[in-house]
Symmetry: C2
Subunit: 190 residues, 2 copies
């Protein structure tokens, strides 16, 4: 990032961009893509490619590709300004909508392919015919994996469904059960 102005807000923005970029890369997302998203989110402004290039000191190509990826993820949108040919970009500002989009997209890109593989592997394994104890155990491990990932898929589909809400509801629900269980504990239910 360029060392533009140094009022607290600008510094806060830069720091957030950095922190979000780091988190992104720990989660298998390109640092720059996460930083572009961070910048759009934290400023809340509609920025054009040149704004982003300047502020993050990245090339046009990189900015373009990152933006396209963010638009594909559904957490950044294209806009236009009257009398200006350029495209501008704004980040989804509702944090729950954003969270839903991210979780949904990761499900689609990573969990679903894994599940597909697991299903294939299951078929393959079950063709083994012989039923030694070792094979039984192997099959059970595969089953367990299928079960947990199907559960994850189900939960995500339910709570991150396109229809909306749900994640917040889940949070409430879990949170409630949290406090309820704590009370139970205090009252001596094991």
């Amino acid at each position: 990032m360029a060392n533009h102005g140094d009022n607290p807000i600008t510094e806060a923005e830069d720091r957030f961009v950095t922190a979000w970029g780091q988190m992104g890369s720990a989660w298998g997302i390109s640092r720059t893509m996460a930083e572009v998203h961070a910048l759009l989110y934290i400023t809340g402004d509609a920025l054009c490619t040149d704004d982003i290039m300047a502020r993050l000191e990245i090339s046009r190509g990189n900015a373009s590709m990152s933006l396209r990826a963010l638009v594909d993820w559904g957490i950044v949108f294209r806009t236009h300004k009257r009398g200006d040919r350029k495209e501008y970009f704004v980040a989804e500002q509702d944090i729950w909508t954003m969270a839903r989009a991210i979780v949904r997209e990761r499900l689609k890109r990573e969990v679903e392919p894994l599940l597909a593989s697991l299903h294939e592997i299951r078929d393959l394994s079950s063709k083994s015919g012989a039923e030694t104890e070792a094979i039984e155990a192997h099959n059970e491990r595969i089953e367990n994996l299928v079960a947990i990932f199907e559960l994850i898929e189900l939960l995500v589909q339910r709570f991150v469904s396109p229809s909306g809400e749900g994640l917040e509801a889940a949070a409430m629900l879990l949170n409630q059960s949290h406090t309820r269980d704590e009370r139970d504990e205090r009252e001596g239910r094991g």
Copy 2:
């Protein structure tokens, strides 16, 4: 992986190792580390470094580092065999225990540092003094992020707590609420 034997089980194992390795790298974990884990999990055996080196065709150094990381994550354990000086490694076989360990570790490594940054950023931002509308909006965005990540932290701590169970319980809970809501929907509650 070496093209050892080609009975369906061995092939299934190899395929699982590959699939798990891919998923791992999509989630910011080194491919090899995920593959080593996959191998230990899917065979269920206690394997020594040389077994792993041979099966995955990796160097001793790589095997050693991957294993140490897996042990740090708490999803692989060291063991020994009578009359054998070598160390052997076994994967946690309970899939829920494994899931808890993974989630807990990621919380610690990625969410907590992010939260620490967000707190700092919040302090920084609030020092701004001036209270223009833009600054208000900025502060609110930071607040929202802090709120959502603190919620995540809370939920994870609750359901992935060292004490155990909990994740399954959460799954049940969510699953129930899922089926309940579906029924509600069928009955025409919007």
